[in-house]
Symmetry: D2
Subunit: 350 residues, 4 copies
Amino acid sequence: MIKVGIMNVTGYAGAELARLLYNHPEARVTSVTGRSEAGKRLAEVFPHLACYDLVVEPELGSVDFVFSALPHAASAEACAPLVRSGVPVVDISADFRLNDAAEYAEWYGGEHPAPDLLPSAAYGLTELNREAVKTTRLVANPGCYPESALLALAPAAKAGIIWPEIIVDSKSGVSGAGRGLALNTHLGEAGESVSAYGLGGHRHLPEIVQEVRKMMGPVEAPQPVPVKVTFTPHLIPITRGILSTCYAPLFPGRLLAGEGARDALRELYREFYKDEPFVRVVDSPPATKHTRGNNMCLVYPTVDVRTERLVVVSVLDNLVKGAAGQAIQNMNAMTGLPETLGLDMPAVYP
Amino acid sequence: MIKVGIMNVTGYAGAELARLLYNHPEARVTSVTGRSEAGKRLAEVFPHLACYDLVVEPELGSVDFVFSALPHAASAEACAPLVRSGVPVVDISADFRLNDAAEYAEWYGGEHPAPDLLPSAAYGLTELNREAVKTTRLVANPGCYPESALLALAPAAKAGIIWPEIIVDSKSGVSGAGRGLALNTHLGEAGESVSAYGLGGHRHLPEIVQEVRKMMGPVEAPQPVPVKVTFTPHLIPITRGILSTCYAPLFPGRLLAGEGARDALRELYREFYKDEPFVRVVDSPPATKHTRGNNMCLVYPTVDVRTERLVVVSVLDNLVKGAAGQAIQNMNAMTGLPETLGLDMPAVYP
Amino acid sequence: MIKVGIMNVTGYAGAELARLLYNHPEARVTSVTGRSEAGKRLAEVFPHLACYDLVVEPELGSVDFVFSALPHAASAEACAPLVRSGVPVVDISADFRLNDAAEYAEWYGGEHPAPDLLPSAAYGLTELNREAVKTTRLVANPGCYPESALLALAPAAKAGIIWPEIIVDSKSGVSGAGRGLALNTHLGEAGESVSAYGLGGHRHLPEIVQEVRKMMGPVEAPQPVPVKVTFTPHLIPITRGILSTCYAPLFPGRLLAGEGARDALRELYREFYKDEPFVRVVDSPPATKHTRGNNMCLVYPTVDVRTERLVVVSVLDNLVKGAAGQAIQNMNAMTGLPETLGLDMPAVYP
Amino acid sequence: MIKVGIMNVTGYAGAELARLLYNHPEARVTSVTGRSEAGKRLAEVFPHLACYDLVVEPELGSVDFVFSALPHAASAEACAPLVRSGVPVVDISADFRLNDAAEYAEWYGGEHPAPDLLPSAAYGLTELNREAVKTTRLVANPGCYPESALLALAPAAKAGIIWPEIIVDSKSGVSGAGRGLALNTHLGEAGESVSAYGLGGHRHLPEIVQEVRKMMGPVEAPQPVPVKVTFTPHLIPITRGILSTCYAPLFPGRLLAGEGARDALRELYREFYKDEPFVRVVDSPPATKHTRGNNMCLVYPTVDVRTERLVVVSVLDNLVKGAAGQAIQNMNAMTGLPETLGLDMPAVYP
């Protein structure tokens, strides 16, 4: 039985880790931290976690495995000594996602707290980076938006069938913005409304670009073509769920033309994900509700034959596949357990 | 491993049974029916149940245990031969809830299809009727509203501390009305709105009255006092969840007076439910979201000391504790399994 | 043209006053205040008020009529000098609602800032207190919950057909809690959920009791019977709207018995409100959405003939009939204008 | 006073016409039709329209102006004789939007019922086609999605600063799908969820393409470049509102490069719409709630400087600016009234 610690259990990602791990057969949460609520019983902070007999502590106790749900910067500072002392860590913050410390500084506004650990950190999109995840002590859990965009684009990007002019239009529930208070998540403001944000450049953009570049490799046609990604997140009045609609021109001549393109594309996607337990290629446009509360990502790839564009819709629960579930999947991979352990359950639908 | 059949898996209660049973360690769903969708794969009807490799059939195959999620009348007709042939059944419909066939005819508008089975049917509010549930082959699963009202009232009613003038004001999400199409569950109509219904007499009323009468026994003060219950259901724009606010005058002199009354009442409730895994007496008013997707009922009892009235608020998920979860709890009790098997999980919050 | 000032335009009630007054043919908003946003253009604070060319000021300019949407205590302090100098004021805060300064101190936690003005303040439920409203310079606009409860109860209470054992169970959208930030109005928490609050005694309770007492007069049967009101507010995931369900035993022998009671009751209600433009007695249970954005209160009275109880359901928009609309109706009455001026519009449905 | 008739008042667009026209100073609704509800009082069908003393009739009475909110095909059949007899008509259905009867047949699946009227029909996006609207008897009111997309794209398209590779990603509330019953607008399914639909080609696509082509004129660079539009609608759990996010590559060299591009673009948009009362170019991303219930379209244009793409976000209320409000604006223009008459009101926010 793995003794697990959760740093910052008092945010949504931390609480979701506790929720999911409660039914994990090989792991047990034994220590949880959270500065603002330290000293309270976990059941006081979160009535749905009354099944736990734990007190929120200021510092982690001795554990075998650590999840960090701390904010960026604070997370790297807390994770670094653990990793250096040999404790395996999944960091849900953004701190180890970007390979380049300079890019981190540009987007997150400060020196990286532990740049020496960047080379050994694995980007924890298990489906696309499994071997690196299995052989590291430090996994950078993907952002929720990148998770949805990358799973939608990977089969096409790796197959070289798209031109690297990509648009990712994402719609997210409010839990992605966290439990902190802000006017844009006040029900009176956000309810019965939809809005776009981050149009000047959202922090998840460089992460998407970095990973798409890796998937596509150099594109030469015949000169080098840069990868261009526009990413627009939107806030919709639901608690959980992200739907990303991804667009890219088809690379001329690489996918069957005409109406057959759709079937050929779906077949390519099915083949790509055929052994993945948490990605399902579906035959009709999915709804976020089909993944509510579980670790699935549903992907619907199609072709707009009028314009010869790839269009892929993906859905997932931003707190599960977009955060805590993916983190547990990574823990399973890192510790040699079956990846599905504790995560194999239907969505809570309707 | 118990082979389980679900009749009418294509409604919300039926689908919820399939969702919950997927992780039950001692039961496996092996046969599901549903007239309108017969012949389709379950995954086609419900993408969240793609984990099942089952086809919706017109008739049940051979199974060890049956849940019926059929509409009333049809349910009794389908359950009766099964029960007579010795198959244990939990009926989620209303058919075996009312002990009196005449009352059934009055409220449900037709002769009872199997009145001979009524005497052996147990009212499946496990917490209050455990012994009868354990020793029968036919359990009538409670209605979702009665479940929330009866768990809120039982400790006070059984202790004789209230006068039998009861008001139950309930607020329910739309899944309680089922998956059928109607204007009052159209998001354009029900969204951003709240309304009352059933004011002339909702079908769950006689069920509440019947069980409250049993709990209170004869009230003589000194002449016999009849049990009077007014029940008003309301539709609110959420998918899952019932909150019931229950009111009754305190029986003079039976509970500590003044501010101390609140603590005395809470102590009485805690004692009553101290061994129940699925009812928790809480210290502050609960939200339905605290029970989303799991089998808990949270009960908050208090006293309006200005008016000397009992006020109890209860919350539960109408599809779980109010339907499928309670049904599985009953199956566990009927088959000698621990009641919590397959049902011990935190709510999906937020 | 009346020059109108709004104190604290930056809350929901203040902004709603500005919204509604924009189309008032005899009034024009010429000055608005709001401490935290002073100096900003109104359009910056509220994009929907871009039709106004006004700057939020720290202090009111010279106006003919003032609405105060300030918090309690601050409101009385700001209104008192205006009233004393002869400016007519409608105060939307609670400061002048309770007739008794001691009761105010008990519920609002502080000395009343202007007790000398209490005797001349009129309780601004125009329908029930029209003459007083027309002849004062200071109107205390009712609370949103009391507005819904009192309009539901008035015809029965004044006719003496109920016993003064009243329960008011109210369901409100989140805008009633204001625009301030709090966890209980965070969409991630309040969305897809319902909860009760204020069970120990909500501040709107004494206001309801005070006015019900006036409506009922002394009840002697044959000894004096005290008025007992239990009031439970609930938070539901909508932005606007209150539905109140009110219960009281019928006074024996005063209303026709049996099924005929319902028609007799409805007739009594229709007669009571027959000349009121903003209260409509309806034949079937109303939804809050039927009053979204306008100044109507819909009232559905019925009798639970099984228990001989009055049950009345009322709906209104808490920001209009429950605040800004009622305030403008009061302004119209105070200034000799037709009460419906600027307020006669259909609800925004769906 | 114009006597107005509404055909099919019983759908959402028809009811919204009645709501908005109630406060129009120069028009009065005197006749309304609706097959399924014929014979009922309008107040029975829609409680929020109780202000009208009208009966739903099977056929229109004699009126001066007609709005048709009938379904396509039925609408053209009903409008044709009216137009031919000289009655001015605004048709909210799709029947006269596409200039080419063959294209109509392809997308709407049937012969056009009145192809002879197509040449005289004006596409009723008043802002872009004012002169034609003013001089015709038959206006085809735009679809709600095209309305939002075209107002977002027009300034850029007409200025020739974009390359005709356009993506329109739209998010709509459920009222756009009408009042008919379907599983995808059931609150239990659509609530707390988001999904894409119409990926194979939505009927609003040819309308967008047709009008974008007109706005851009022939693009030669130096060979002719076809206009390519991908349009993806999404269903989100709100009642009213559309947000469209539109993407197109900037035409090289035609807009200032670098960070200055954003200001230059906003200036271009402001200039384009400077005299339009119902389109406002805003400085920060708007929310649909800012236009709830009124006739405004808010447009936020920006440049993704990393990829040199235009990104424009527009919001409107699909039942007002996307249907009934735009229709009344057209009526005003057709009858020589000021366009804002009856439509100048703030949004109902929050």
